[in-house]
């Protein structure tokens, strides 16, 4: 196949361009202060102390812990609640179902920035505005995109298994927990990894809600590192790069482990209007 050669050549060129920033980041995080900007592919001398130095300067371990806790809470809440709601839409007929599901789809188009202020005021009113709770608790009510996605999974399950279970005396909740959930496992994983990534990478909500540096998630902490050591601060960019690597590597690993679920989620993104 000689006609494949130009395609592969173009892909290799694009691939190098897309991979280069990662390599640059990793390499810069291991350079010493005077070499951060040298654009050399390999650091020389190699300076792994950047990691211990940033570790000592800021509570990086606490931030990793916060990100894991918030990310898992957000992902579990979104997965469980969206599955419950999606099962309701997929499995039961009730008056108003079509209208209500239309409303679910409509909220997917609603710009989140519009509810930023009033939702903050709600958390302020209940005294939780400076805690980590607002970063995940909103997910307890199901989220439109995940409801849509899981409904597709549930609709794909054969109706006979539910009918058989009903004959055996299984109520709606039993049908959900013992039949629907195990069969829709791939869909649940898609929702879990999507929301884990969304919570892990979010900056705007931690900026709004978190005041104490000990409560910061990694992106909020990384922004503090950048303000202190980068941009007009102490000009220690190698520390900023080391902290950036710490924030990025878990997401790279998550993708390599769960690649097919991410791809499946992206491909299912397209909603039929």
């Amino acid at each position: 196949m000689t006609r494949r050669a130009p395609v592969l050549f173009a892909l290799v060129a694009v691939g190098v361009l897309f991979a280069y920033p990662f390599w640059w980041l990793l390499s810069a995080s291991l350079k010493d202060r005077s070499h951060v900007f040298d654009n050399a592919l390999l650091p020389s001398p190699v300076n792994p102390q950047n990691y211990t130095e940033v570790w000592r300067a800021v509570p990086l371990l606490a931030w990793v812990g916060n990100s894991v806790a918030v990310g898992v809470a957000a992902a579990v809440a979104a997965t469980v609640s969206s599955a419950v709601v999606a099962f309701g839409f997929a499995r039961f007929r009730f008056r108003g179902r079509t209208v209500l599901f239309g409303l679910v789809l409509a909220t997917m188009m609603l710009p989140a920035a519009v509810t930023m202020v009033p939702v903050y005021l709600e958390w302020h009113a209940v005294g939780l505005a400076t805690t980590q709770v607002p970063l995940w608790a909103g997910n307890l009510f199901g989220s439109a995109f995940y409801v849509f996605l899981l409904r597709q999974f549930f609709l794909g399950l054969p109706a006979e298994v539910f009918d058989a279970a009903r004959v055996d005396g299984a109520g709606p909740w039993r049908q959900f927990t013992s039949i629907a959930l195990p069969l829709a496992r791939p869909g649940l994983i898609v929702v879990f990894v999507f929301e884990l990534k969304a919570a892990w990478t979010d900056l705007i909500r931690p900026l709004i809600y978190l005041r104490e540096p000990e409560l910061y998630t990694l992106p909020r902490g990384l922004k503090a590192v950048l303000d202190r050591f980068g941009q007009g601060g102490e000009a220690q960019w190698e520390l900023v790069m080391a902290a950036s690597v710490v924030a990025t590597v878990p997401m790279i690993l998550l993708f390599l482990v769960a690649q097919r679920y991410f791809v499946r989620g992206v491909v299912t993104q397209r909603v039929e209007e």
């Binding site: 990662f22 640059w24 499995r91 009730f94 199901g142 709606p172 900056l203 941009q231 690597v245 791809v263």
Partner: protein, 298 residues
């Protein structure tokens, strides 16, 4: 014949979403509409202010600047992202067995936390010794001051945003594989060049998906926040020139609400954004009736 028991079970299952819709969407929207007619700083009770917030917006040069910056960014970012993603997807489509590997490489940047991405690109885009200008130098170009020249800050942000085109490309790739192969054969028999095949077979075949990404990416782009905020705002105030060039609408909204505690004015800004986005989406939906073929429904 929905039984009463079935209906009851259905409502119980969807109840969490209904509660969330009232508490976190519909309620807040109405609350913010009310607040937009008040002055409110969290400390004193809200005071009724009539239309004064909206009148102030009409004269607010920073609000106008922020809106213009956002529209400018969106007009560059959305079409370029779609064209690049289409190109990448077409390449992946023809890559044969190596498609999986390259898909991973192109998708990985979308996993990077935007704050890390912004910190990294501050250095890559650096005018004096950044890698991007070094590469432009190989081809004899003198790159601009991407991070300090107000005229080049937004183009720099657009360039950076293209690094995450991979997820759109993966979506297009899925749509491309659904275009029936017979259509390409028919076109080839008619002697259509690859370019004509693209315009007359590929594009009509995936136009529904392209249209979907146009709407979704436009809505997201009009709310652009994290990268520009990370690079040009925060603890250390940016110089006025840089700050104004990167002042996007949601950044301004955020500053007014949580920096100046002007919750009423910020709510007015939010409602105007909502109406702008709704109008643009409605326009796109109208235009699509003439241009989109819906045969590529999943």
């Amino acid at each position: 014949m929905a039984s009463a028991r079935e209906a009851r079970a259905g409502w119980l299952f969807v109840l969490p979403w209904v509660a969330g819709f009232l508490l976190l969407t519909a309620g807040p929207m109405l609350y913010s509409l009310f607040l937009s007619f008040t002055h409110y700083d969290l400390l004193k009770p809200a005071r009724f202010a009539g239309m004064s917030n909206y009148r102030e917006m009409l004269q607010d040069e920073r609000a106008a600047k922020a809106l213009w910056n956002t529209v400018f960014f969106t007009l560059l970012h959305v079409p370029l992202q779609i064209v690049l993603a289409l190109g990448l997807a077409s390449l992946l489509r023809r890559a044969g067995r190596s498609a999986g590997f390259f898909r991973t490489v192109l998708f990985l940047p979308t996993m990077t936390p935007p704050v890390a991405l912004a910190a990294l690109f501050l250095l890559l885009l650096n005018g004096q010794n950044g890698a991007i200008n070094a590469m432009l130098g190989w081809f004899g170009f003198t790159g601009p001051q991407w991070t300090t020249d107000p005229a080049w800050i937004k183009p720099g942000l657009v360039l950076m945003s293209l690094w995450t085109a991979g997820s759109t490309a993966v979506l297009y790739l899925a749509a491309l594989t659904r275009v029936p192969g017979e259509r390409y054969e028919a076109a080839r028999l008619d002697g259509a060049s690859p370019w004509r095949q693209f315009w007359h077979v590929t594009l009509p075949g995936i136009s529904g998906t392209v249209y979907f990404t146009l709407i979704v990416n436009t809505i997201a782009s009009l709310q652009v926040f994290t990268e520009a905020y990370t690079m040009f705002f925060g603890a250390r105030p940016s110089t006025p020139a840089e700050g104004d060039a990167a002042l996007f609408y949601v950044i301004y909204l955020f500053q007014e609400a949580f920096g100046s505690l002007r919750m009423g004015y910020a709510s007015a800004l939010a409602w105007v954004l909502f109406l702008v986005i709704a109008a643009i989406t409605a326009l796109q939906v109208r235009l699509s009736r003439d241009y989109v073929h819906y045969e590529d429904r999943a």
